[in-house]
Symmetry: C2
Subunit: 197 residues, 2 copies
DNA sequence: GTCACGATACCGACTAGTAGGTATGTCGAC
DNA sequence: GTCGACATACCTACTAGTCGGTATCGTGAC
């Protein structure tokens, strides 16, 4: 089982990648630390050298993804384009970045409740900030009159991110649709649904 | 811990309700059979008398929800209304029925991969049929020219059900929004995004 | 009416195995 | 010689599921 491991990649990264893969495939609880270290081609000693616990691995996965997405959203949201175009770009981008980090994303979306309550709270707070930044774009467009305002921005955001969270349960890497195509379609759906009456 | 249990409700139902609650809250794997029987106010003997395994409980929860939703969708889809109205009703209804069975729904959406592969396949097949029935409504509308047809019906369906699956992570029973209001808004978003250009 | 008797409903102690985590050992670089 | 980077051996807690047993119920004979 330790055969096909690329030993050039640092042990820390191999462990995190292995954990992400297995957590995404089977879920957090049913994946044993033993499974992870075998896939990474090391032993438990190595894992507990770099990470303090199984929970720690989960949190690192979560943090890694969210920091990437938060950065990209901030850059787009603060850009110079009109609000409708910024929202379109932000929507398409979160789809693409989710699909490009699908293991991490699936784990993040499905396994938060496996963290101890305090870690969980922090994670939720981070995600909430992300959600609010996105929602603010919609509200900005509503205030400017370019989006219909008879639908709560919060609800629209939840509905949209639901679609994003759900990507992992149907997207196939070898399928016909590229991440960019899906992102474009999702963004179009969102923009269209916000078009004033 | 066996204090607040309504002993009038049959043991089988109490067990299923307890399992659904706990699986929804903590996930399948981290919930022990002991937790379930304590919440239901019985012992393991009772549980293994009515159910063959922990997996069996999960499958019963799944089946219970899907059969309800499948029936309701079929009734609506075969109704006499114009296709746009049938889609609106179906969309709103799945939101309402999901929120009315939120524990079951969360478990179904999050814990399929905990079932043994053969059970899992059957469950996926059932869900796929549901998905396809819904998608057929969209395709019918596209063929009739009342929906735009430059977006794949499959993609639209996935995006919409993503929003439905995600309901459990933000909906609060004591919140301001009723299930009907949310269903109405979701349906409006969907219909709007399908409006011809 | 009551008694025998078989079935159903349920109890709770037990087991075999697995899990996360730790303690200690090895070894090469500097 | 000591420090980082791992390996190996092991501990303890906990889990799903089993099993022998009991209590209650339904029912038919008399």
């Amino acid at each position: 089982m330790t055969a096909r491991v690329d030993m050039a990649i640092p042990v820390q990264e191999r462990l995190l990648a292995a954990a992400s893969r297995l957590f995404a495939e089977r879920g957090f609880a049913p994946t044993s630390v033993q499974d992870i270290v075998e896939l990474a081609g090391v032993t438990k000693g190595a894992m507990y050298h770099y990470y303090s616990s199984k929970d720690d691995l989960l949190q690192q996965i979560y943090t890694r993804l969210l920091s990437v997405q938060q950065e990209r959203l901030a850059e787009i949201a603060e850009g110079p384009l009109p609000v409708a175009e910024r929202l379109r770009e932000a929507a398409a981008d979160v789809v693409v970045s989710t699909l490009e980090n699908l293991d991490d994303a699936m784990v993040s979306f499905r396994s938060i409740h496996m963290l101890p309550p305090d870690r969980q709270a922090q994670v939720r707070a981070d995600r909430r900030r992300y959600h609010e930044r996105f929602r603010a774009l919609i509200e900005e467009g509503q205030a400017a009159g370019v989006f219909r305002d008879d639908l709560a921005a919060d609800l629209v955001t939840h509905q949209f991110f639901g679609g994003v969270h759900h990507l992992g349960s149907w997207y196939r890497v070898d399928g016909a649709l590229t991440p960019q195509a899906i992102g474009g379609s999702f963004a179009e759906l969102l923009l269209r649904s916000l078009q004033p009456i």
